[in-house]
Structure formats: C-alpha cells, structure tokens
Amino acid sequence: MAGVLARRLFSSVLVIVGSLILVFAILYVLPGDPTDTIVDPSIATPEMVANLRHQLGVDQPFYIQFARYFSHMLRGDFGQSLMNSESVLGKILDSFPATLALTAASSFVAVTVGLVLGVLSAIHRNRPIDLIARVVGLFGISMPTFWSGILLIVLLSLKLGWFPAMGSDGWRTLVLPAIALGLVGAGFIVRMVRSSMLDIIDEHFILTLRSKGLTERAVMYKHALRNALIPAITMIGMLVGEMLAGTVVIETVFSRQGIGRIIADALMAKDLPVVQGVIFFSAFVYVIVNTLVDLSYTFIDPRVRRST
C-alpha cells in the first residue's frame, strides 16, 4: 500500500513539473512581448524596452528563464503581476477559495445528480425516470455553460428572484453557477453510470445474487452499483478538471471572484507571470484530485489492489 502511494505521488510530481514546462514553453513562443503590457510601445524608446527586458529577464535564453522561474517557484515566489506589481501568489491565494468553492459545489451537483439519475434510469430502464435522465444527460452535455448560466439567471434570478444573479458572497451566490457548471458534469456522469449499470445488470453474477434470494435493492445498490462505480469514478476525476476549466466562463457570466476571472483578465493583458501561476495551481489541484481518485479505486476494486 505504501509502495502504491509512493509511486502515485512520484508520478504526480512528474505531471506537475511537466505541465509547468509545457505552459512555460507555450507562453514563451506566443507572439507579443511582455513589455508591451508595461510600457506603451508607441512612445517607448528601444533602449527603454531593452532595459525593461533585461530587468524582467526575458532577454535570457529559454532554459535560463525557466530555471530561474522554477527555483523561485520552489521558494514560493511566483513573481509579480506585470500590470500592478501585485504578488502572483497573493493574487491566487486571494481568489482561489472562491473558485475551489465553486468547483466543489458544481462537482457535488454533478456527482449527486449524475449518480442518482444514472442509477435510477438503468434500474427503471425505458420507464419515465429513464427518459428524464436521458434528457438531462443530453442537455447537460450539449448546452454550453454560458447559455445555461444565462437561462438560469433569467429564470431563477430575474423572474423568480430566488437567488442572486451575481457576486461571490455567501452560499446563495454559489447556487446558480454551481448548477450551470454541474449540469455539464451531471450529463456525462448520467450517461456513463447508466450504461455501466446496464452492463453490470447483464452480468452472470447478478443472476447468482438473485438466485440466492437477495432483494432487488441489495442486488442493485449493494452489488451492481459498486461495480458500476468503477468506471464512473475515473470520469469524475477528469470532470473535476473540466469544472476547474469551466470556471473561467462561469465566473465571468456570474461576475464572480476567482482564478477563472483572473486568468481571463491576465490572458487579455498578456500578464504572463499571472497566467503561469494560475495554470500551475490548476494543474496542481487537478493532479491532486486525480491521485485521490486513483487511490480510491484501491478501496473499491480489489482487482486494482492486487495488480499494483
């Protein structure tokens, strides 16, 4: 068990470092110069720009820039924003909790709605509940979040006035964005759980369980569900990443605080240290979540336990 954990952690670190290099490389080859953000290119003299470039270190070769960034990062220094010289780390730490809360809330919506509807629709195949689940799945997958977000605002906020349309203070502001974002995940999970439940229900061992006189409830919720969860959990791990990425749009739609907003603004302004910092943090969260998911397998599926 300790060996599994060690190996997983090692590969997680590799993924994080890899993503760091990748992001750094992409931003490096991107057209445009970071000095543009700081000085107006129409009035700046070439000497000023060269000076600034030297100050920022962007005149150095790629590997030196990366090594410097990396060593700073290891010491907790993610640099300063080019726009207002704020510490990138401070900026991220300020807004990250709001994003995490949104990601967690929408994941909760996705998993709850997805599992419940997926299981019910498989058990009651071709009944009304199955139809509802399939429609929810279809809508979740095919509706873009900015659209469903706007619909929710119009309906639940403007028309009915149940929840605020914007802001990031208190749980009430979380409800609409969490639903808008969670529905996407729910759509994928419903479909996944439904089809894997249906596969499991056709397995021979289900017949055995019934022949032992177990109640349908025990057969379905104790045995079939646990088997069906195995593929669903992989997907949930990946979806959390999707949710994190989805916050970029949703935070804008609902005018929420969060790293989604920060990265959107930073990209517009070519504020590279901020972009790098945010992407690194997101990769970090994503890797942690997926490591947890992988480890949770070991508890659900004995076959994984043996093969590792």
């Binding site: 055995t208 022949s211 032992k212 177990l214 076959r303």
Partner: protein, 696 residues
C-alpha cells in the same frame, strides 16, 4: 412420498425485439426427494430456461410463465408473490451456474458472498455466518478456508470458484440444487472432482439435484433419471439405464451416437445428426425434430406427437417402434465393430508384450532421430521454449517467467493428425502458436518441410505461411461480422495469390461447397449462419490456399455434440481429399482420440507422453495420462467411477514444482520424482514417456 418438485405443462414466453418467442412449451416433469434428474439437450433446447423458470429468474430477462404450474412441495411457485419467492430462492432451492468465474461479484470477497446468503435467510449474526462459511468451504474441499474467505473471486481458480459456488448454494441447506452446466467451463479432471463432490453432498444434505448438461457422459454418470429436451419441448424421459440402453426418440439416439465413445473405431465417420437445432423464431411444423430426423414421414411434418407414456418412460415420437427396430439393427452392427476393436486391442497388446522394448538405455531425443524416415516429417520441434516474462515485484527482484512451453521436442508427420491434450494451463495452445510462428519461440528450433523457421525474417516466412493455416475455437469471434463470408474466405487468396476479384469469389464459392455449404452463400454475412456453419466457413478459409498443415485449436469445442460430429467428419474428409496434416488441440479427450493418429500429452509446459492414439487410451504410460483418461465420464450408466480421481489442480507455470512437474498430484510419486526431472524417452516404437516409473 410426494414429489419435491412437480412441474406441470410449463410454458415460458420471452418478449424480444422480434416479438413474443415461446422458449419452452408444456414442459412436465417431477423430481422426487433425493433424486438426481438430468436435463440434457443441445444449446437452444430450453434446458436453461426451464431451470431458471423454476425460481422465476426469467422474469428479469423479459420472460414470463404463460401457462402451467411449478409445485414445490405442493406450493405453486408460479403464483407466489415476489417477496415470498425470494425466501425460497437460496434457501429451499439453490442454484449453481456454468461459469464460476462470472458467477461471483468480483468486488466482494468469497466470504462476504457466502455470509450474505446465510444472513439473508437465517437469524444468525455476521460472525456466525462467517464461521459457517469457513466450515462450508472446508466441506467442499477448499484448502486454507479461512484465507479463501477473505479473498476475492479473481484470486481463485475456476475449479476452486465452482467449489465455492457450491458452498454458497449449500449454505442454507437447500432441498433442491439446480446445477446449470456446472462443469462445462472446467477441465475434465476438475469436472470429475466436482461431480463426485456433488454426489457426496447430495447424500449428506439429503437434497435432490436437477443437473443441466449437454454431456451425456455426465448424465450417465450421475443421473437417476434423464430428460431430453429439443427446441423447448421434452422429447423423451426415462430412468438413466433404460434410456441409455434403448433410446426411444431418434434425437436421443442421435445424441448418444454423435458423442464419440471411447471405443469408436478411430478415424471412422462419426454419426452426426444432420442440420442444426431450429431457432425459436422459425420452428418447423409438426414434430419439431422432423427436418433432422431419418424416420420423418408426412405425419411428422403435419402433426406434433404428444409425449406418450411407454411403461415408466415418456417419449414424443410417432415412430417409436421403427426407431427401436432400426436401433436394434444398428446396435448389432456396432456391437460387431466393438468386438473387432477389442480383438485388435488384444493383438496389439500382445505384440507389445512380446517386444520388450529397449527403453531406458536409449537416450535418443524423440524427433531428432525419429524411427520413421525424415522425409515423412512435416514439422519438427527441437528443444522448443516459450517463456513469458512476468512483471517484477520490485526493481531488484529477479525476473520470473511463465514457462508456457518448456523444452518440447516432437515431430508431426505428413498426413497425420497429431492430437495435443492436457488441462488448461498446460501450454497446448502456446505450443501450437509457436509452431506456426504466430509467436516467437524463446529458444529452440522448428523445422517445417526441412526449413528452419525460427531464424527466418517476416518476409521470408510469408511464402511459407500459405502452407500452414489455423482454425480457431470461437466460430463467432473468428469471422468479421462486417465482411461477407466470401470476402473472409477470399482474404488469404488476395494476400498470397494473384487472383482477380472474380476468380477469388469463384474460388470462395468452390470452397464453400467443399465444406458442405451452399455456394450462393458467398454474399451472406456471418450472423446468418449457425455456429457449426460458421466453423465450416472458418475451415473453408483455412484451406483456401491449399495448405499442407492446419492447426485446429479447440476447433470443435464450442459446438454442440451433434454439430461437433459433423465438423469432425468434415475435417477427416478434407484430410483425405487434400492430403492435409493436422495439429488438433482439444480438451475433449474422446474427440482427440477419435481423430488423431498420434497424441501428445502436455503438462505444465512439458510433453509427458507421446503415443499412437489407441495405444495411449488402452495403455497409458504416464500416470497423468492415465488419470486424465479416467476423468472422462463413462457413457455407460451403472459403470460408475471406481478409480481414484486426479487430485488437486494444475500448479502455476510461473513456479513449476521441482523434479517431475507432476509429482505434486501423482499417486505414485517418490523422492526421486521430487528431485529428478524425467526426460521424454522412447518406450517402444513410436511411444515416448517422461516418467521414472512408467506404467507400461
């Protein structure tokens, strides 16, 4: 004494995409307390539906009892509410299924799954249920029961799982045990162990058994009464001895004859029922069996015969008397044949006894200088090895290997059929694939028609590949469902030949005719054919390039017995017509005996015996061969097993036992066997055995 189970006129319908299908019609039979009843028939005959209908498990598969009653000690199960029914399932009537690997939930331990049943039906705590589980596992012969309880299904072998499944079934002391093909997925040696266990437990628990099987040998061995089903109806039932002695229904008779008995004249044609079982969606009129029946008349085509009593027996046939008459004629004929064989046996035994072979001193490698001239040799394997590396446990641990084929040397002669037998895990299939260079040998040499294959490049090998083709086990998986049959057959022609598309198609049509199918079928797709017909298509594809050698890896194992006989006959005809050489790999020993000239017996990657087919069965030299043969169910009722069974299971090929690999299961093993590995040495002409204490 009243019947334990009394089924009256039971009919079951299934709701399918194509409408309502009637799976079984007016099935009537009963089981007395303590009785073992076997339900036999080919796939599609309705055996399994009948067994599931007893506990109404069909209702989860869109099935419904439309008519009739299922009386369990007088109570009609067909009318019970679901909740009541669940109290009977697993408690009074328990079931064991065909595939032990698939019958357990993979994510719960064996112990949890046994305890769950006990807790469901009896007022006991979890701890007590667990304790009883341990006792049950011990009773069904599972070593280290406490450990096994905590293991997951994937960690046990098929045989062990089937024992565990039986333990689950017995956990609440059922009155009736329904076993649906409980040994079909298992090796013949494990099958014998499981059947013996079932019989012991039946006496011990005082229960009745309803056993569903396609293997008449099993029915002969354990049944008190046999019920034969065909296309959803009972066609005959009777006491086992009587039914086997004088089958009344032509179908029963056909089934009995198609199962190649151990005393059939080797190489002769097997009796085969023509055609195959009809689909439920397109049942024939009148007697359902008439399209396949030799005795069919207009009456059979028009009118369905009722299941009539004849003394203690029941049979549904209009022409029982003429069937019996024909059978009597046939019987005397086959009786004469048996005498002839027996006479031959004696002479051959005498011949061997008169010729005390100079075995022992002769340390010649078999095959390297085989007694027959080398021009007769088609394939020659010398010191062949195939090791599969295993994942290391840690970076420093030495790499270990699965030794699938471990130093095997033998020859296959031109025009012969070389049979390869052994339990699963013995390396038969690997050996076949390595011979054909479908997998690379780890070491060793393979000579094919004088060419050494292992050193050839893929390009150099390609022209030789025409000469060696394969027929696969699964007739469903080995044909692409999106290709027409003609395309599948013509593919090797396109790869190797320079034929035009039209010529290819013409040749495909010819080949189809050669294997007994309609030439017009070239444009059909595989799903339009039955299993047996698909296997014929596979054969047509294999012979398309006029190969000299065909590897038939379990080529008939997936087929029903009557169809199996058809395909075996076809293979033999083709061998004669086309001068083919076969390597015939199978776990069904009777079939291998029937078709093979010589047989090699494999155990854990080693060839332990090579002998001419009849010799091998008459006088096996290796204890493993002997026990393997003894495991075959006797097809003569009453002649029950008295020889000791082959104990235990085949060990893991990644860590084979020291010395003779068989010593852990061998009743004759001594200290020498544990230490010294016996070489495969000539015993007498054409016989080789790897045993320190050969039985011959």
């Amino acid at each position: 004494m009243g019947a334990l189970l009394d089924i009256q006129k039971l009919s079951v319908d299934f709701q399918t995409k194509h409408g309502l299908l009637t799976a079984i019609t007016e099935v009537t039979f009963s089981i007395q307390p303590g009785e073992t009843v076997c339900l036999v028939g080919e796939s599609g005959s309705g055996k399994t539906v009948t067994s599931k209908a007893i506990m109404r498990l069909i209702e989860h598969e869109q099935g419904r009892i439309t008519e009739g009653s299922v009386l369990l000690s007088g109570q009609d199960v067909a009318k019970l509410p679901e909740a009541e029914l669940r109290r009977i399932r697993g408690k009074r009537v328990a079931m064991v299924f065909q595939e032990p690997m698939a019958a357990f939930d993979p994510v719960f331990t064996i112990g949890q799954q046994i305890a769950e049943t006990i807790v469901r039906h009896e007022r006991v705590g979890k701890r007590e249920a667990w304790e009883r589980g341990v006792q049950l596992l011990k009773r069904v012969g599972i070593p280290e029961a406490e450990l096994r309880m905590k293991q997951y299904p994937g960690e046990l072998s098929g045989g062990m799982l089937q024992r565990a499944m039986i333990a689950v079934a017995l956990s609440c002391g059922p009155e009736l045990l329904i076993a649906d093909e409980p040994t079909t997925a298992l090796d013949v040696t494990i099958q014998a162990q499981i059947l013996q266990l079932l019989q012991e437990l039946k006496r011990e628990f005082g229960m009745s058994i309803l056993l569903i099987t396609h293997d008449l040998g099993i029915a002969a061995e354990i049944a008190d009464r046999v019920i034969v089903m065909y296309a959803g109806q009972i066609v005959e039932q009777g006491v086992t001895e009587e039914l086997f002695a004088q089958p009344l229904h032509p179908y029963t008779r056909g089934l009995l004859q198609s199962a190649a008995p151990l005393d059939s004249v080797r190489g002769s044609r097997l009796y085969a029922i023509k055609g195959s079982i009809p689909s439920l969606a397109a049942l024939p009129t009148g007697c359902l069996f008439h399209p396949r029946c030799e005795h069919a008349t207009d009456r059979c085509r028009a009118e369905a015969p009722p299941l009539d009593h004849r003394g203690d027996r029941e049979v549904a046939c209009w022409h029982v008397d003429s069937v019996v008459e024909a059978a009597v004629d046939g019987h005397s004929a086959s009786g004469a044949v048996i005498h002839e064989v027996a006479a031959k046996r004696q002479t051959s035994i005498r011949l061997i006894e008169e010729d005390p072979a100079d075995s022992g001193q002769n340390v010649k490698q078999p095959g390297v200088s085989s007694p027959s001239p080398s021009s007769d040799v088609l394939f020659e394997a010398v010191n062949l090895h195939k090791y599969y590396p295993l994942k290391r446990k840690s970076l420093t641990a030495p790499r270990s290997y699965v030794r699938a084929v471990d130093d095997v040397s033998f020859t296959i002669r031109k025009n012969e059929t070389f049979g390869l037998v052994g339990e699963s895990g013995s390396g038969k299939s690997t050996l076949g694939r390595v011979l054909l260079q479908l997998e690379e040998a780890t070491s060793g040499k393979i000579h094919f028609q004088g060419t050494e294959l292992t050193s050839l490049s893929a390009a150099e090998l390609r022209p030789l590949r025409r000469e060696m083709q394969v027929i696969f086990q699964d007739p469903y998986g080995s044909l692409s469902p999106r290709w027409t049959v003609g395309d599948s057959i013509a593919e090797p022609l396109k790869v190797h030949g320079a034929l035009s598309a039209a010529e290819c198609k013409e040749r495909a049509a010819e080949l189809l005719q050669l294997v007994g199918l309609d030439a017009a079928s070239v444009n059909k797709y595989p799903h339009e054919f039955s299993g047996g017909q698909r296997q014929r298509i596979g054969i047509a594809r294999a012979i398309a390039l006029n190969p000299s050698f065909i590897l038939a890896d379990e080529a008939v194992s997936a087929l029903d017995v009557s169809v199996q006989a058809q395909v075996v006959n076809l293979l033999q005809d083709l061998q004669q017509k086309l001068g083919l050489t076969y390597l015939f790999i199978a776990h069904g020993l009777q079939i291998v005996r029937h078709i093979s000239d010589r047989i090699g017996v494999m155990y854990l990657g080693k060839l332990v015996e090579i002998a001419p087919s009849e010799e091998l069965f008459l006088r096996p030299a290796h204890p493993y061969t002997r026990l393997l043969i003894d495991s075959i169910p006797h097809s003569v009722p009453g002649q029950r097993r008295d020889t000791p069974l082959l104990q235990g299971e085949i060990p893991s090929p990644s860590n084979p036992p020291s010395g003779c690999r068989f010593h852990t299961r061998c009743p004759f093993a001594t200290a020498r066997c544990r230490e010294e590995q016996p070489a495969l040495l000539p015993l007498d002409k054409d016989r080789y055995v790897a045993c320190h204490y050969s039985l011959v």
